[in-house]
């Protein structure tokens, strides 16, 4: 079961473990990680599950899919090269130890 570390805007960290195949957004919500709003529940409709993948791991997390890529242009916090919608990022054992940063604003 991969472990993910969420770094929150206030400087604190939340460590979360979830089964492979779980969306990163779901792992955050099921563990009450603040700042992942996920208004649409993972349907790629809202862009309120935005995260920045740690630069060093951005490659192993992979690029956004096409729809996600377009949506990322309209997130509440600025888009960066490492931006992903966490509902579109599936966890796997290869991503064990993933670090993601939660942006200041989601809506």
């Amino acid at each position: 079961m991969p472990t993910v570390i969420f770094q929150l805007p206030d400087g604190t960290e939340r460590k979360v473990t979830a089964a492979s195949g779980t969306a990163l957004m779901q792992a955050a919500v099921s563990n009450g990680v603040p700042g992942i709003v996920a208004e649409c529940g993972g349907n790629a409709s809202c862009a309120t599950c935005h995260v920045y993948v740690d630069a060093a791991q951005s490659e192993s997390a992979g690029p956004p899919n096409d729809v996600e890529d377009e949506m990322l242009d309209f997130t509440a916090s600025e888009r960066r090269p490492t931006s992903r919608l966490s509902c579109q990022l599936q966890l796997s054992d290869a991503l064990d130890g993933l670090v993601v940063h939660v942006p200041e604003e989601q809506v």
Binding site: S30, C40, G41, S45, A47, V67, E70, D73, F74
Partner: protein, 416 residues
Amino acid sequence: MTTSGAPGVVVVGGGQAGFSVASTLRASGYGGPVTVFAAEPHLPYQRPPLSKKAHTDHDDLRVSLVPETFYRERDIDLRLGDDVVALDPAARTVRIRSGLSVPYAHLVLATGARNRPLPVPGADLDGVHALRSLDDALAIGRALTTARDVVVIGGGFIGLELAQVARARGAHVTVVELTDRLLSRALSAEVESHVRERHERAGVRVLTGTAVRVLEGSGRVERVVTSGAVLPADLVVYGIGAAPRDELARDAGLAVDDGVLVDEQLRSVSDPRISAVGDCARHPHPHADGPVRLESVQNATDQGVLVGRRIAGQASAPYESLPWFWSDQGDIKLQIAGLRAPSDDVRLTVGDSPERLAAYAFRDGLLVAVETLNWPAEHLAARRLLERRTPVTASDLTGTTLGALARARRAAEVRA
């Protein structure tokens, strides 16, 4: 129950809006007791997935908004399976089913809505379902494992979503709609015709302008008799609209008119110590002519945030969040930003692929609402521009999209 002596906030209803109030109170630093009475036995959960997936087992965890620990860690007293049966604004108490009276300093009504019952004979046969709760969804999910002929009564969002879920399970699906359009209250005619065409292409039979007369069968439903035909059916799902659960307020003498009437701070117009949020509230909104009642996750969440912050003592502006909505009907992703009026001027645009459409609604020459099909980026761009009240005219959109406009404006802001 939390005991700090003084009465705190009592929330009636453990749905999307009630959850939003309780979590916002704590996030905003409110330190008094917070009690949420939730009639259903489940942790507060999301309703949207219920009509978009066929749940067959108790998948609670995946629809719950947050896990149980969330409430404990924040000292939110969540009373599942406990409903409020009366309120007494003069004494500032609510009575719960067991007979106990609970005092409040502030009361929030977040009771949601209930489905309109199907007013035809046979509606009580086995195999006839409405869909609102997780338990309803589980029952429908189980029925879909064997159903061959599914009749959906009502061509609204929930009915159309369910029609696609049933199609994906291989059933023959017929949607029966009384008016001559699908989604007639919510969607422009321009977009509706495309939605209909896509459902038909996916193999759903759509009968508009058709009234259901009677459901027939011995014990279980076998047929749906309409004004035009007799449809075989082993599962019938109906979604013909919802009505606000405002009877607690009405019985207590608060002003009610198809929803609890609230001011722009979402306080009952009759009693400033009572607020109402979500599906059960009728509120003024700068984008609407008169008070509106909206049934959406956005509305429930944002109203809960406003009330939570206000009670916690944070400065609060009038409620004016931009309304937005989504519906996933199989491969059809429909999104709406803003509030369209029937008299608005609607322009349809095809996106960079024929699957994508946007309809822009203008009032007095300015963009007020946008409906999109399979084009989430354009929807988000619409939200950004409408939220910021950036004026957009029809000529601004000649030969371009909102996405391109929003990107250009953002780039200009960065340069400035």
